[in-house]
């Protein structure tokens, strides 16, 4: 048990100690809020969809958690050769514990980053309309964080260097974000985009946040939570299996 704790602790300490990285990572959400939020705001309003900042904020929070979580998982590639991970793979600790500790640690970091971005959204004018659903909102954020950390771990367990990483970022992670309904409503989409949105796990995360925080739902909170839980469990399972096959 202690092994899980110190692996978790290590991820959190690393995060808390690298202030430049925290601040840098906040640049992107801020940019999205300003450029898209204030930029598209008027058009969105005129299209009868209401306040775009309100709509966008959950998407930006989801984006932050997605990218931070996947990155924590992908760090494994480096860690495996030059970092602490080698040390853990040769220690008398079952790999599943190492995987759990790392995943929880990475998810915690993604969650913390998400919380900071919530604060930024509030500064930009976002307002929570339903405080009673805050626990559900946090639950959604936790599931998204764990899910994508596990995904990052699963991918990194299979890649042996950074070349694949670029491919993954551009052809998997970016589409997951852009086609998830983070930036635009999912109603009345062309058929193809609709299908992609339905199979995109982040769609349920963003929708869950929107349902909980501002009461706007496309799939509905219960469905979101159900889908997120299932996908999270599947990805954690896959991640563990792939992680235990890592050969240095």
């Amino acid at each position: 048990m202690s092994a899980i704790y110190i692996l978790w602790l290590r991820q959190v300490k690393r995060y808390v100690r690298s202030k430049p990285r925290i601040i840098a990572a906040l640049g992107q959400p801020l940019l999205f809020l300003i450029a898209l939020g204030f930029g598209f705001g008027p058009i969105f309003q005129r299209a009868g969809q209401g306040n775009y900042i309100q709509f966008l904020a959950p998407g930006v929070i989801g984006m932050t958690i997605l990218f931070t979580a996947v990155f924590s998982g992908i760090e494994l590639i480096w860690d495996r050769q030059f970092g602490f991970l080698k040390e853990t793979l040769v220690a008398p600790v079952p790999r599943i514990l190492v995987m759990i500790g790392r995943t929880l640690g990475g998810a915690t970091v993604a969650l913390l980053q998400g919380v900071i971005v919530v604060a930024i959204c509030l500064i930009a004018g976002f307002r929570v309309t339903n405080f009673r659903a805050l626990p559900e909102a946090v639950l959604v954020m936790v599931l998204v964080a764990v899910m994508f950390t596990a995904l990052g771990t699963a991918i990194a367990s299979v890649l042996s260097d950074f070349q694949g990483f670029q491919l993954i970022m551009n052809f998997l992670v970016m589409p997951i974000f852009f086609l998830s309904g983070a930036l635009f409503p999912l109603t009345n989409l062309p058929a193809v985009l609709n299908v992609i949105a339905i199979i995109d796990p982040l769609s349920y995360g963003v929708d869950g946040l929107r349902s909980a925080l501002i009461g706007v739902a496309h799939f509905g909170l219960p469905l979101d939570l159900a889908v997120l839980s299932i996908i999270t469990a599947a990805l954690v399972g896959t991640g563990s299996a792939l992680f235990s096959r890592i050969q240095l």
């Binding site: 202690s2 290590r10 300490k13 690393r14 970092g83 080698k86 040390e87 040769v90 008398p92 260097d161």
Partner: protein
């Protein structure tokens, strides 16, 4: 302490390790030498539970590493060729984490961390993040860490690569002192033949997956009529440079060197 019998490792058509056998006695400093691609790294990985052999038997203090993973792991410490410290954490934290992973009880952990850090002259810097350490200091810390759980065997894979002579000298002095005091068996690989000659009790030379010679440095020199171990080595393995491709690992090492602005390694 280490018994290897008829060890074979095949990857499809390629035989990396081709029926090697050797013994390392308790308290011995044993050097495992060979050109690039000879099968050294594969052998070490098998000894340290990271690879399963195709056939043959390996015993570490009576345990089979490919079967009794955790029991075998408790008995050895390893210092890898590439650094495996956590740069953002302090020296003390790196040691402490190792102790928790190896289930060293807290009180013993604290005492042992202190005595090892003092032995390797790192106690003053124990609360500094490792990223501020020089290459030599990082190496010392890794060796100190590898010894934290009082292993019977310690594997050193190219421990002095890239270090200056003073640091290398100091490092071996510490290792030899530990070997004498605690009777730790040391299994090392290196390309620095003078060091192997000076420090190792016995040496094995591997080439093309086979052990071509074993014995003390003197025996190897006599056998080949050479004056230094390096000459004996070249006589046994030939002077041609081994053709090798830059692997993904080499690329990553280059990247690591680029990003590691401050450290010397």
């Amino acid at each position: 302490m280490i018994r290897v019998s008829n060890l074979v490792k095949r990857y499809g058509d390629f035989t990396a390790v081709n029926d090697i056998s050797f013994d390392v006695n308790e308290g011995e400093i044993f050097a495992f030498l060979g050109p690039n691609g000879a099968g050294k790294t594969t052998t070490i990985k098998i000894l340290t539970t990271l690879l399963k052999p195709t056939s043959g038997s390996v015993q570490l203090d009576g345990r089979d590493p490919s079967v009794d993973h955790n029991e075998a792991r408790k008995r050895f410490g390893i210092v890898f060729q590439d650094p495996s410290l956590d740069d953002e954490l302090t020296a003390y934290e790196n040691m402490d984490f190792h102790g928790v992973l190896y289930k060293v009880p807290r009180k013993i952990r604290r005492e042992r961390i202190e005595s090892l850090l003092k032995l390797f002259e790192l106690w003053e810097r124990r609360n500094d993040p490792v990223k501020q350490f020089s290459g030599g200091m990082k190496r010392r810390l890794e060796i100190a860490r590898g010894l934290l759980h009082t292993p019977k065997i310690v594997f050193l894979d190219e421990p002095t690569l890239g270090l200056d002579p003073q640091t290398r000298n100091q490092l071996w002095t510490h290792v030899k002192k530990l070997n004498e005091q605690e009777r730790v068996t040391v299994f090392l690989t290196t390309h620095y033949m003078e060091e192997a000659e000076r420090v190792a009790h016995r040496i094995a030379i591997i080439d093309h997956g086979k052990i071509v010679a074993q014995g003390t440095a003197q025996e190897l020199k006599t056998q080949t009529g050479a004056e230094t171990l390096e000459q004996a080595f070249l006589a046994l393995t030939g002077s041609t440079i081994r053709a090798e491709e830059g692997s993904a690992l080499d690329q990553m090492r280059t990247m690591a060197r680029m990003f590691r602005g401050r450290g010397r390694r």
